[in-house]
Symmetry: C2
Subunit: 349 residues, 2 copies
């Protein structure tokens, strides 16, 4: 493939609820921002509630093989109240994170000008969370005995490996080093979860030696939630385990403008498998099909996707466009499509 005809081979999963609406805008902006010489090839996949109800399938081996043929995956949202809690989450979302070894779950939080926050005084918020994506209490290790009886015992096992912790900690240090403030905070609960905590804390200290210019910091997860509302400006880069990362990134999204603008990447940094990019928000079935969903989180996820594939200027252009759009948005209520159109015009311009 010559430099004059690059191909971006994208798997697209619109999914459930507002997923298709926001993904359409994400693709619109992607098309508008891509250089002329890049050919975007997309293939749509029908994962989600509808397919599950029709076939009982969430993600087959053949699906996995098909997804593997792509440079990256753009996902809208998966989930519907008609499907029992956990079926699509574990059968699709988490399954893919594990199969494609998405060990860097990247979630930036930036309170953009003009965006409202539930916090007083419009604090400076600009940090990223590097959440481990393939270990911890998310491994599905656990079980129950005497299930359904008064003597039931149910366990969940958090599995943490030196291999898994070290690679994500190193990734976070590298990201911190590349940012102006160069500060990395480890979030864990090492005073209680002593075995996992010991591994995380020691690995963090060890990898820190390779990054002498990065300032380091440790917070228990409970204290981290306090600072996220009382002093979010203290954070630059956070690295944390799968479950703590799940919790603090929702809180981080809430304080930095809401899940309407929170993007995320499920990243395999070595590109052994395609990485998957998705808004943090869910399928929001209550507003689906009404053109009310804000596509900004999906569009920002497209920026993360482009950055991951090496299209840095294009990623930056999308982020600038969303930022400018939000700053000028004011009280105007626009449809999903209108916002997408406005962003497409901005990135092209």
């Amino acid at each position: 493939m010559s430099a004059s005809s690059r191909i971006l081979n994208l798997a697209v999963i619109p999914g459930d609820g507002i997923g298709p609406e926001v993904v359409a805008q994400g693709l619109k902006v992607l098309n508008a921002v891509l250089p002329q010489d890049v050919k975007l090839e997309t293939k749509e996949f029908d994962f989600g509630a509808k397919r599950y109800h029709a076939t009982g399938e969430t993600l087959t081996d053949a699906d996995v093989e098909a997804l593997k043929q792509h440079d990256a995956i753009l996902l809208g949202a998966i989930g519907d109240p008609s499907v029992p809690s956990g079926v699509l989450e574990r059968g699709f979302l988490l399954k893919l994170r594990f199969l494609f070894d998405h060990h860097v779950n990247l979630r930036p939080s930036k309170l953009l000008p003009g965006v409202s926050t539930p916090l007083k005084g419009q604090p400076e918020i600009d940090f990223i969370v590097v959440r481990e994506g393939t270990e911890g209490p998310y491994t599905g290790n656990g079980g129950s005995i005497r299930t359904g009886t008064p003597h039931e015992v149910a366990t969940e096992v958090s599995v943490n490996t030196a291999y898994g912790v070290e690679r994500v900690v190193r990734d976070a240090f590298a990201r911190a080093q590349a940012r102006p403030r160069k500060k990395l905070t480890l979030v864990h609960k090492n005073n209680v979860l002593a075995y996992a905590g010991h591994l995380w804390t020691n690995t963090f200290a060890k990898v820190a030696e390779e990054f002498p210019d990065v300032t380091t910091d440790y917070l228990h997860v409970d204290a981290a939630t306090i600072f996220l509302v009382t002093d979010p400006a203290r954070f630059d880069v956070i690295v944390t385990d799968n479950l703590f990362g799940d919790i603090i990134t929702d809180l981080a999204a809430a304080v930095s403008g809401g899940i309407g603008v929170a993007a995320s990447g499920n990243i395999n940094p070595g590109r052994d498998f395609p990485s998957m990019f998705e808004p943090v928000h869910g399928s929001a079935p209550d507003i689906a099909g009404q053109g009310k969903a804000d596509p900004s989180a999906t569009v920002l996820s497209v920026a993360l996707l482009l950055r991951h594939l090496g299209y840095e200027p294009e990623a930056a252009r999308i982020e600038a466009a969303v930022s400018a759009d939000l700053a000028e948005r004011g009280e105007t209520v626009r449809s999903t499509e209108q916002i997408g159109d406005a962003l497409a015009v901005r990135v092209a311009g």
Copy 2:
């Protein structure tokens, strides 16, 4: 013991940092509020960093026996940077919660008039969290192999029993039923932690049948953190597991006036063992000995202690006093002792 000479036999653990300062005020207010016919007998225990450094002990069998001889325990704070993380937490605080079967960890959150919150618009906040205190990932079950090598595997096991979950869920339902709004929210992560989640969710549904007048609700822990900052008024009573409870109660404290006013009770509802009451805040060594600490959280913990022992009018008087004091506090900076004095005057008057 005749009704005219009741005895309140209290174990007092001042602890580290600001612990002794705030406990002194807690006792002052307790003395002021107790009816004439109640004789307060206190015995002080020296647990904490100093004792640990001197003897290597955190809590001996003899200590446990001595503590058992009391009606309740009032704790200031335990912890000091000079002690490795986890030693006092696990060797004292958690050990006592487990030994004395403190399965109801009660943490009220109320944003009192005049108290500042990091949230915009001074929302209505008045809920209690019933955190399970003796199970979940706090059991210390776990381990590591190949520790310190690149092949280390460290695990933490969350242990959940029908017995343990049902009793705390039933306690929370009863508390919800006794409140005007009668609403109980279960917080868990049942879409990912499927085994524990199944036990919690099913137990919750089963116990709900005994409380038909209580409205129920379920939130994933990540979503709960969002609502705690965007719509805390939606909560009345929350019941949750040990780790989720740890995290959301710190966040709850932060949004409802800070840990300066957050009280907690480690409760054994059947009074098989003494319950322990303590402010949510830690030992704050940076401000220790300066008379700067706010004793309100300790004083409010004394109110929880009195309520647990059946002194409801006295508990209510303390809460009213703290509320009035905070409302009138304004910008005045008062010492720990001055606040304690003011509260003692109010509860006596």
